[in-house]
């Protein structure tokens, strides 16, 4: 039996470790510069206060956090969660049949159909939101069509309502739900559906007992991917919203650009981030348990 070669010792091993570090260095630098440092500055800022002269003073206080947790901020937080939750729900509702169709009936055109789903993303978000304004206005296309068909006699006040905000958000984030659902449904074994039918399950039963449970990881992913960004959105409520449809994103934006209360805005952002992290972790735990099923 020939002796095994000894592991590289001394300078060689040290050298390979340095090479490893060097390769990772650019990424670490990137994370440090664009994640750690800005985050740290926001944390520091959240402990300061702004005075009457609009100067930021390093007061080193947790007062801002107390203000954030003030119950009077609760409504806007709940409203944002409500809108984001509705957005997630409708995105999943609309995205599921779409994903199903592409996954199971797309055939050769799957890639093209997915591209079409993603296509609106390549246009400006703002332009798409404004186009909804045109559609929903009192003298807009939708009202015009409904009036013309005789379905209604007075134009509907659709714009500047919670409806228009949720509609705008749902429209904007639909691809985020469709794609994870597509992935989950594409992996689904077709013979399982045949087996279910074979055992006496009607199509609706097959869906609820077999398809939906197995697509749950996709549902959870799609839900998360729509909830989190919708929660922080401020453009849609600003343009399509009314007076009482503003979301927490607007409140944060206001602090930074109008009220000039950067410390409070920082504290708000951090608390929002924390809430999002907690819900993501909770969801991931859920996915972890469902993934083992699929």
């Amino acid at each position: 039996m020939s002796p095994t070669k000894p592991a590289p010792s001394g300078p060689r091993r040290i050298a390979s470790r340095w090479v490893g570090l060097l390769l990772v260095a650019p990424f670490l630098l990137y994370v440090l510069t664009f994640l750690i440092l800005p985050l740290a500055s926001v944390v520091v800022l959240s402990t300061h206060q702004v005075n009457d002269q609009y100067h930021v003073e390093p007061a080193w206080t947790l007062d801002n956090y107390r203000r954030v947790l003030d119950p009077e901020n609760l409504p806007i937080l709940l409203r944002s969660a409500r809108y984001a939750g509705l957005t997630s729900f409708f995105c999943l509702l609309a995205g599921y049949p779409l994903a199903w169709f592409i996954a199971r009936h797309g055939g050769r055109h799957k890639a093209l159909l997915l591209l079409l789903v993603m296509l609106p993303f390549w246009t400006s978000y703002l332009v798409r939101i404004f186009s909804w304004m045109t559609l929903l206005q009192t003298e807009g296309l939708l009202n015009g069509a409904l009036l013309g068909l005789g379905v209604i006699h007075e134009p509907l006040g659709l714009l500047n309502t919670p409806f228009s905000v949720v509609l705008g958000l749902t429209y904007g984030f639909l691809p985020f739900a469709t794609l994870p659902l597509y992935v989950a449904l594409e992996r689904l074994d077709g013979t399982l559906l045949e087996a279910a039918a074979d055992l006496g399950a009607r199509p609706a039963t097959t869906f609820w007992k077999v398809v939906f449970p197995l697509s749950l990881p996709g549902v959870v992913a799609g839900g998360l991917l729509t909830f989190v960004p919708a929660m922080g959105d401020f453009v849609t409520p600003e343009i399509l919203g009314g007076v009482d449809t503003l979301m927490i994103g607007n409140l944060i934006q206001q602090q930074f650009l109008a009220s000039y209360d950067w410390p409070f805005g920082s504290a708000l952002s951090l608390v929002l981030m924390g809430l999002m992290l907690v819900s993501i972790l909770a969801f991931l735990k859920l996915v972890g348990s469902t993934e083992s099923l699929a």
Partner: protein, 359 residues
């Protein structure tokens, strides 16, 4: 279960071509054939996953041709088992029962009963991923059988198992079928499987049924060259028919006259083929009375229980002959190059009509 003139086309390809089948209640029926012969499509049409373009399917007298799978009292054991990964064994097996809204107590007792039957007692709460291939297959079986269907369909159920397991499962399936008395319809490309387990076999080729019958008939009296070739090993020799008399036909082969059992449709003056099974051929040093041919041994292969000899009987034809190694009176020490006589009894040969068109 019966098929009447059932046809199914996919575009230009006719997968199932005017097939007629009749399966007795309580029988173990096999659809046998090579890949692409239409057996799987036929099975799917019985289950309801596919609808025939024309023809009619009846089960217990009821026309089920256009019924959806969940409307038929038919259950399938899939080739890849198709067990529901997000449910445990109990839930998988109980799936069909739950659809029929039986009480929890009934469901529990039936599931326990069937799990016992397939020898999976106590495994109810195991997850599917934790089971071995053989165990999964038995769960699939249990899941289908627990519903006591009118017909149980099995789509190449033993294909994924290793040799020993396959033998065991063949035995199991036969036993279950006898015990439950349910009509089994099995699809396979493995002729040994079909012959060992079935009461009746249908051999399919290119969408048509070439022959239906008990395994013995299929083997001993193949109806067509395809069946003869597909089942077991067969030697084929071209012959010319001289005369037909009293159930016996005289044919001429290499200037020798041979008597074979008559075959309907093969008349005097026709060209035909003779099919001979290797194990029916006897090799001797001297010619015997009856059907025999002279030849030269080309080579021999020791196969454990028997030895297979290749014997050249003419310029174009080499016959395979199997000789039992331990049989009294059998001679097995022929060497390559030796002259030898190939003998067979008159009933051992099958006369086949000549195949004209390439299929």
């Amino acid at each position: 279960m019966e098929f009447r003139e059932v046809t199914r086309r996919f575009g230009n390809v006719t997968a199932v071509d005017r097939v007629d089948l009749e399966v007795q209640r309580g029988a173990f029926f096999s659809l046998l054939g090579p890949s692409g012969c239409g057996k799987t499509t036929t099975l799917r049409m019985i289950a309801g996953f596919d609808e025939p373009d024309s023809g009619c399917i009846r089960i217990n007298g009821q026309d089920v041709t256009h019924l959806a799978p969940f409307q038929r009292r038919v259950n399938t054991v899939f080739q890849n088992y198709a067990l529901f990964p997000h449910m445990d064994v109990f839930e998988n097996v109980a799936f069909g029962l739950r659809r029929r809204r039986l009480s929890l107590r009934e469901i529990r007792s039936k599931v326990e009963w069937i799990l016992g039957l397939v020898r999976l007692e106590g495994m109810g709460r195991r997850r599917i991923q934790q089971l071995s291939g053989g165990q999964q297959q038995r769960v699939a079986l249990a899941r289908a059988l627990v519903n006591e269907p009118e017909v149980l369909l099995l789509d190449e159920p033993l294909a994924a198992l290793d040799q020993k397991l396959r033998r065991d499962m063949q035995f199991e399936l036969k036993r279950l079928q006898k015990e439950l008395g349910i009509t089994f319809v099995l699809v396979t490309h493995d002729q040994e499987e079909a012959l060992t387990m079935s009461d009746s076999v249908a051999v399919m080729n290119a969408g048509r049924v070439e022959q239906i019958g008990p395994p013995r008939d299929i083997y001993d009296h193949p109806a067509t060259r395809f069946v003869a070739d597909f089942i077991g090993i067969a030697n084929f020799l071209p012959v010319k028919v001289r005369s037909v008399q009293n159930g016996r036909t005289t044919v001429v082969l290499s200037d020798r006259e041979i008597l074979v059992p008559s075959r309907k449709g093969v008349d005097a003056g026709a060209q035909a083929e003779l099919s001979l099974r290797p194990e029916r051929l006897r090799l001797t040093r001297a010619a015997e009375n009856g059907n025999c041919l002279p030849g030269t041994v080309v080579d021999s292969v020791f196969m454990g229980a028997c030895t297979r000899f290749s014997v050249r009987v003419s310029e174009d034809h080499v016959l395979l002959a199997e000789q039992q190694n331990q049989q009294q009176g059998a001679c097995v020490d022929f060497n390559p190059g030796e002259p030898v006589w190939v003998n067979w009894g008159p009933a051992s040969a099958t006369l086949l009509p000549l195949v004209h068109s390439a299929r």
